[in-house]
Symmetry: C2
Subunit: 209 residues, 2 copies
């Protein structure tokens, strides 16, 4: 690993970080290479030198964003306790929403705009994951472990609610009149969301020792 390569790596990351913020704030069309370059502290043509085109830069930012989003609910099986799994899923997603707001907004912008650049990801990666999780929820319901309801709606509900604090951060802050959400907010919101969804699905967390 030469010094040269280290520097290349640094510039790559610097551009990707700046691009994530700009694309997340303004969408693909609204973000300009000019502003991304300024945010990264580099001249504009360097962006093109490293990433060839705006479309390719956007794709790379998206790829980085989509990796490892649902790494927890993933491994659950029929034997697991749905209350524990869903509570954990909600809290992890909520924490990600607080910590990686830029990535969440970028993804939201892309989907709202028609998901033109991530059609393959949705169909080939997310859809199989989603189908298997719908089946797991249905199996839990059939086994009498949770109340019968539409499993897909349950997943959408968790996604929508947890992402809301990142995607609609501007609205949440304006309505609460504070400048940023802290750890206490994360805790309070997590407790409320988890308790409502669990109780709504007829679930109870096992008592802690």
């Amino acid at each position: 690993m030469s010094k040269r390569q280290n520097h290349r790596e640094e510039v790559f990351v610097k551009i990707l970080d700046a691009a994530e913020v700009e694309f997340g704030l303004k969408g693909y069309n609204g973000a300009s290479l000019q502003h991304i370059a300024e945010r990264a502290g580099l001249p504009k043509p360097n962006i093109i030198y490293y990433f060839q085109s705006k479309a390719n830069l956007y794709k790379q930012v998206l790829d980085q964003t989509l990796m490892g989003w649902n790494d927890l609910f993933d491994k659950a099986t029929l034997e697991d306790d749905p209350a524990v799994v869903l509570d954990s899923f909600i809290r992890v997603k909520l924490k990600q929403s607080f910590e990686k707001g830029g990535a969440s907004r970028l993804f939201a912008m892309e989907v709202i705009s028609g998901a033109l650049h991530i059609g393959d990801y949705l169909k080939e990666e997310l859809r199989p994951w989603f189908s298997s999780r719908v089946e797991l929820l249905q199996a839990w319901m059939d086994a009498g472990k949770m109340r019968q309801c539409d499993p897909a709606s349950v997943i959408y509900m968790i996604w929508a609610t947890t992402q809301h604090y990142a995607d609609f951060e501007a609205q949440v802050l304006a309505l609460s009149g504070i400048e940023s959400l802290g750890d206490e907010d994360l805790q309070r919101i997590g407790d409320t969301v988890s308790s409502i969804i669990l109780a709504g699905c007829g679930l109870t967390l096992p008592a802690k020792d």
Copy 2:
């Protein structure tokens, strides 16, 4: 009301409708007057003639979009049954999400981008409404009519979940593998979301006669 004025009115509405769709699809920067004009079936300069500038047209579309969004939960008081009010609120918001997807996406885009054009609306109109509804929920909880939890999170949860089907329509369709959501879907989703949130808040709908 002369024929001239009727025609002016028609053109106004035609442009506003076209602008709502374009802004909703591509955001403020992504939408061009060219495409709005084409969608409205008019030459480009007419847009400027009627609306002076792109920024002003955007503002007018937003104003039109923001009117009468929460016209139901609005009138509820401590005496009302929270189960009936929240069930109705959820179903109305969900129906609006299905029917006015473009407006919902436009608003979502604006908030994700930092809510720069609607800061006044959020602080001077939506915030007082939000505060009064948080107080009402808290009063219901204190009166023992519903379970104690964070009232703001309950409202965010209803907003986020119902808007999800409009804002993330592309993802919902890709994951379910269908081409559009129908009335049966609206019914099923409404039943699920309403039952989870009501049960989660310790509420039960009164039996129908």
